[in-house]
Structure formats: C-alpha cells, structure tokens
C-alpha cells in the first residue's frame, strides 16, 4: 500500500534563524504586529510503498537520520497518511 509521508524539517531552537527574523520583520512591516516569532523550515513530501504505517514510519525516520536532516542543526517531524493517488506530474514544459 502507498503512503504519503510529509517530513517537516525545522531548525533546532538554539540555532539562530536569520530567514525567520527577516520574515517577521516583513510581516510587521505589513502591520501583523501580533507575530512574535517566525521560524522557517522545509517541507518534504514522499510517496512511499510499504505494508504498514509502522514500517513506513520506521523507514522514513531512517531517511531523515541518514540524509533528510542534519542532526547538528535540525529537528524533524513525520506525518503519515494513506496516499490519495500519484503525485501530480508537473506541467509540461513549453515546446
């Protein structure tokens, strides 16, 4: 069965995030004064085949440990659900 695994990579709280600070400054510039903190991360969506949710979760965690995140500076979170179908193909390039 096929699962959609969404991996969210975030900078560890101790790591300074200049991108987040810049986004916060931009939001405040637009009048969103209620924003107290912004952290910018990464979202990686994977379509993964496997027999069970537990097995797929274990494999995706291994992918995170070995490649998707840098343990020195990043944390990760995995969200799994049955895949709704193939990932849509990108639009064709103009001829």
């Amino acid at each position: 069965m096929r699962f959609l695994a969404e991996v969210v990579i975030s900078l560890k709280p101790v790591v300074n995030d200049p991108q987040g600070l810049t986004v916060r400054a931009g939001l405040r510039q637009l009048g969103f004064d209620e924003v107290t903190e912004v952290r910018v991360g990464k979202h990686i969506a994977l379509e993964v085949d496997g027999d069970s949710e537990a097995e797929v979760h274990r494999r995706v965690a291994e992918m995170c440990e070995r490649l998707l995140r840098n343990p020195v500076i990043e944390d990760y979170r995995i969200e799994l659900r049955p895949s709704a179908g193939p990932v849509p193909a990108p639009p064709a390039a103009p001829a």
Partner: protein, 237 residues
C-alpha cells in the same frame, strides 16, 4: 608532491586550486566524484562550488559520492584533507569535522577579501604561518555561518583546533563586520587528528600577488612541508 583535487558536478574552484598548487611548485590531479581512486595524492583538496547544486543542504549529497568513501578512508588513515568553502560544508556533512555551516546571518552571498587570524601553527595546514598572523584571503559564500553546540566549541578551543578566526585588519575582534556571523568568529577548524582542515575562505584565490594577496599560498606551502617532513601534528590529550 601531488595534490588530488576532487571534482563534483557543480564544483567551481578546482582550476583555481590547481593553479595555486602550480604556483607552489607542485603537481595536481583531478579526482572525479564517481571514481574511488585518489590518484596517488599526498593531500586531497575538496574545493569550493555548489556540489550537486547544493540541493537539500550544502554538501549533503556530495558526501555520498563514491570518491568520498575513499576520502573518508584516507582521512581515517591520517591522510591530509583540505576542504575549502563547499569542501568544508561537505566535511561537516560527512562528520569528518564537527558542526555545520548555515545561511549567513546577513542572508547575503558575500564575496570579498576578509582578514583571518591564524589561531595555531600546529597543524599541517598552518605550519608556514605564525600564530596571530593576519592573512588577507577572500570569502565567497552564502552559507558559511559556523554553528555547533557550545560544548563542541569549548572542546575545539581547548584542543586548539580552531585554525582561523575572522578578525579586523589589525587582528582585533571582527564584531559586526563578520562576513557570516559564525559562532565565535570561527573561519576554519581541524579534526581531532589535525589531518583534516575545513575553512570557508578561499586560499587558492590569494595565491599570487596578481590576485591581490599571496597569503593563501602559506596553506599550500604548509601542506608541502608537512608531507615532506611526514610530520605528525597530533596533540597529546
């Protein structure tokens, strides 16, 4: 002696490195990322650039290249490995050096000559320098902010493994003028065995007076002396 210069897709500094080696009076050979052969090199250089497009994270994919398996073995056996810019990022991703290189605090790509203070001459890469000497060497990167746990930084300093720090021209602390906001102004570090150096600035771009500075040549000359003398620089605990 012979330098091996790694070439990944997206590497852009290999010819500058080869030129610096030539100016130093030695030979170099390019090492293709898909090969495992180190070409009989006495020192392997991982040059600057954007290996594999730096997708995901800088150096994250290059670390898995077949060539890197040989480089890992070479380093484990005490071989000299010099990682410059993207090479430093690859060495951190490969866990040959601690810490990580992240987006510059300014969020800008910085390409300019900076001042580096030599923190220790007791490495095979800095033996031709004098401690506290200030070198003029360019940086050229967008992700050079060195980050590590405070305990890691303390240990690097206690073991005298910080090779270079960003400073002002007179050698005083760089303050807000740091090109990237690195923790403790760290510009380069060596491994526990002192045989692996990672540095963000580009010594190969400061290898002859025509380029504005020949200070970077000291790093190549240091390597040559270390290989000639077969010097071990391991520091007793």
């Amino acid at each position: 002696m012979r330098f091996g210069i790694a070439v990944f897709p997206g590497t852009w500094s290999e010819r500058d490195c080869a030129r610096a080696v030539e100016v130093a009076g030695h030979e170099s050979v390019y090492l293709w990322h898909r090969d495992r052969d180190l070409g009989g090199a006495d020192c392997v250089i991982l040059p600057g650039g954007f290996s594999y497009g730096d997708h995901l994270r800088t150096g994250a994919v290059a670390r898995f290249a077949p060539l890197m398996e040989s480089v890992q073995e070479f380093a484990a056996g005490g071989g000299l490995v010099l990682g410059i810019c993207n090479g430093f990022q690859i060495l951190c991703e490969a866990h040959l050096l601690p810490g990580a290189l992240t987006r510059n605090a300014s969020l800008e790509f910085r390409c300019e000559t900076v001042w580096l203070r030599v923190e220790t001459a007791e490495t095979p890469f800095t033996s031709a320098c004098v401690p506290d000497q200030v070198l003029a060497i360019p940086v050229s990167h967008g992700e050079g902010r060195y980050v590590a746990e405070p305990s890691t930084l303390d240990r690097l300093e206690a073991d005298r493994r910080v090779a270079f720090r960003y400073v002002s021209r007179d050698g005083s602390p760089v303050g807000d003028a740091s090109p990237n906001g690195s923790m403790r102004d760290i510009a380069g570090i060596v491994s526990e065995g002192r045989n692996v150096l990672g540095m963000m600035p580009h010594p190969e771009r400061a290898a002859e007076p025509l380029l504005g500075s020949a200070d970077g040549l000291r790093i190549f000359r240091s390597v040559v002396s270390a290989v000639a003398a077969d010097t071990a620089f391991a520091v007793a605990p």
